[in-house]
């Protein structure tokens, strides 16, 4: 049997996914037995033109991590789609937009202003901002266009599978790779994890009926490690997040932040998370309810931490 041709690509993301891919440990040897990596910019010196030169559908599997922020990333996504039989959105950014997706709370101008002018460590007296083209003595330089809005991979090209997580747990990555190796791929569109249910199902904490009088930020309390964090007023996204990760965050007494994305059937992860959280507020008095709600800082960042571009509204409205 011919070896599988594997490609890995890194778009708008932090790079954590690349490391996560290595986390499978010695299983990588098993992978090497059955697959050749044909494209992996972070590890292998391959140029765009090498990819361009590949025939259509010549790559068996492409693990694509990172969201689509620039014209270059869009271009690469389209190209890899063309060249790959199976395109997998790898990690939260490719899947739902991830942390870069929170940039959708602003537009390009605001982001540039912040990044290139306002930050205290910036020394940019000429107020130079990135341009797609610029003339230098050596000639004209080009940069990819920085888009106003972050999109997910799925919003850019057709994808076959999702491996969720920020970054994906090794077991999740291996689950997908194993399926690939064994050729037992699930139906198209599947989000590949060990558990179709929410993180709570993985979480060993004791859960009771829920009533919350006050929400806390993580640094404000020391939660009881035995009891469900949400019941203790921590905004744990485990209720609204696909499981399979084995709940490492809650087990470490930190609330889940929702990186595995929504459970199947949920149309908008943030709205569902919000609805559930609001539902368990323990008050029927409008003023008290408002006071409790006031204790939730940064709702968008809380409820849509990894999925703003994938939400129904996708981005904030900028006047």
């Amino acid at each position: 049997m011919a070896k599988l041709k594997l490609a890995l690509y890194w778009a708008s993301s932090c790079g954590g996914c690349e490391i996560a891919q290595l986390q499978i440990g010695d299983k990588i040897l098993k992978l090497a037995e059955v697959a050749d990596i044909v494209f992996w910019p972070v590890a292998i010196d391959a140029k765009y033109k090498d990819v361009e030169a590949m025939p259509e559908k010549s790559i068996d599997v492409c693990l694509f991590n990172g969201a689509i922020r620039t014209s270059e990333q869009e271009h690469m996504a389209k190209m890899l789609r063309e060249k790959s039989k199976v395109l997998i959105a790898y990690g939260a950014c490719a899947y739902g937009g991830g942390i870069p997706g929170l940039g959708n709370m602003f537009n390009r101008e605001l982001i540039f202003e912040r990044a290139y002018l306002e930050t205290p460590s910036t020394d940019n007296k000429e107020k130079v901002l990135p341009q797609t083209k610029c003339k230098v003595p050596e000639g004209e330089l080009t940069l990819p266009e920085f888009y106003d809005t972050v999109k997910t991979l799925g919003q850019t090209v057709d994808i076959d599978y999702v491996i969720p997580g920020c970054p994906p747990e090794a077991r999740t990555t291996w689950l997908a790779l194993e399926a690939l190796i064994e050729g037992k791929l699930p139906p198209k569109g599947t989000v590949i994890t060990h558990n179709a249910k929410a993180v709570c199902d993985d979480c060993p904490k004791k859960r009771d009926v829920k009533k919350v009088k006050k929400f806390y930020r993580t640094f404000e309390i020391m939660p009881d490690p035995e009891i469900c964090l949400l019941e203790q007023g921590l905004l744990c996204a485990g209720i609204a997040t696909r499981g399979g990760c084995e709940a490492p965050c809650p087990q470490a007494n930190m609330p889940c932040t929702g990186c595995y994305g929504p459970v199947d059937g949920v149309i908008d992860q943030g709205a569902h998370f919000l609805s559930a959280v609001a539902s368990v507020i323990d008050s029927n008095d409008p003023d008290e309810i408002q006071r409790i709600i006031d204790g939730i800082y940064d709702p968008v960042g809380t409820f849509y931490r990894y999925s703003l571009p994938d939400s129904l509204l996708r981005r904030a409205k900028i006047k």
Binding site: L274, A278, I293, D298, P299, K317
Partner: protein
Amino acid sequence: MNFEPKIVGFCCNWCSYRGADLAGTARMKCSPNVRIIRVMCSGRVEPTFVVKAFELGADGVLVLGCHAGDCHYSEGNYKTMRRMPLLKKMLAQMGIEEERVRLDWVSASEGDRFVSIVDDMTAKVRALGPFKNNSKEAKHG
């Protein structure tokens, strides 16, 4: 042509839908901009519905339930009373004007209240102008 907002209204079956009916029975004149979707209880209204309405091009969303203590299901409206403010807080963060989402209470006998809420909301949303769902076309900023 002047801008006429489209507003999606969610009414519970027991109080506010009846209040809306009463407005009709009493032949009160009322802005036609609010189109009502009947749910059994305002507690059924998911934040997702509100967001979805905006996604589909609504300019405003009105959620009406029974007055506190009058819920046919005892306390479904209290759940709405908790969800909508949090949703509004989040939408505000996303730059959506506060007037575009409104939660209010109308009893079965308050046809006039229904009309005044609808008229008031329509006027406010009309003044804000259309809701631009700038996500789809915002491909290249």
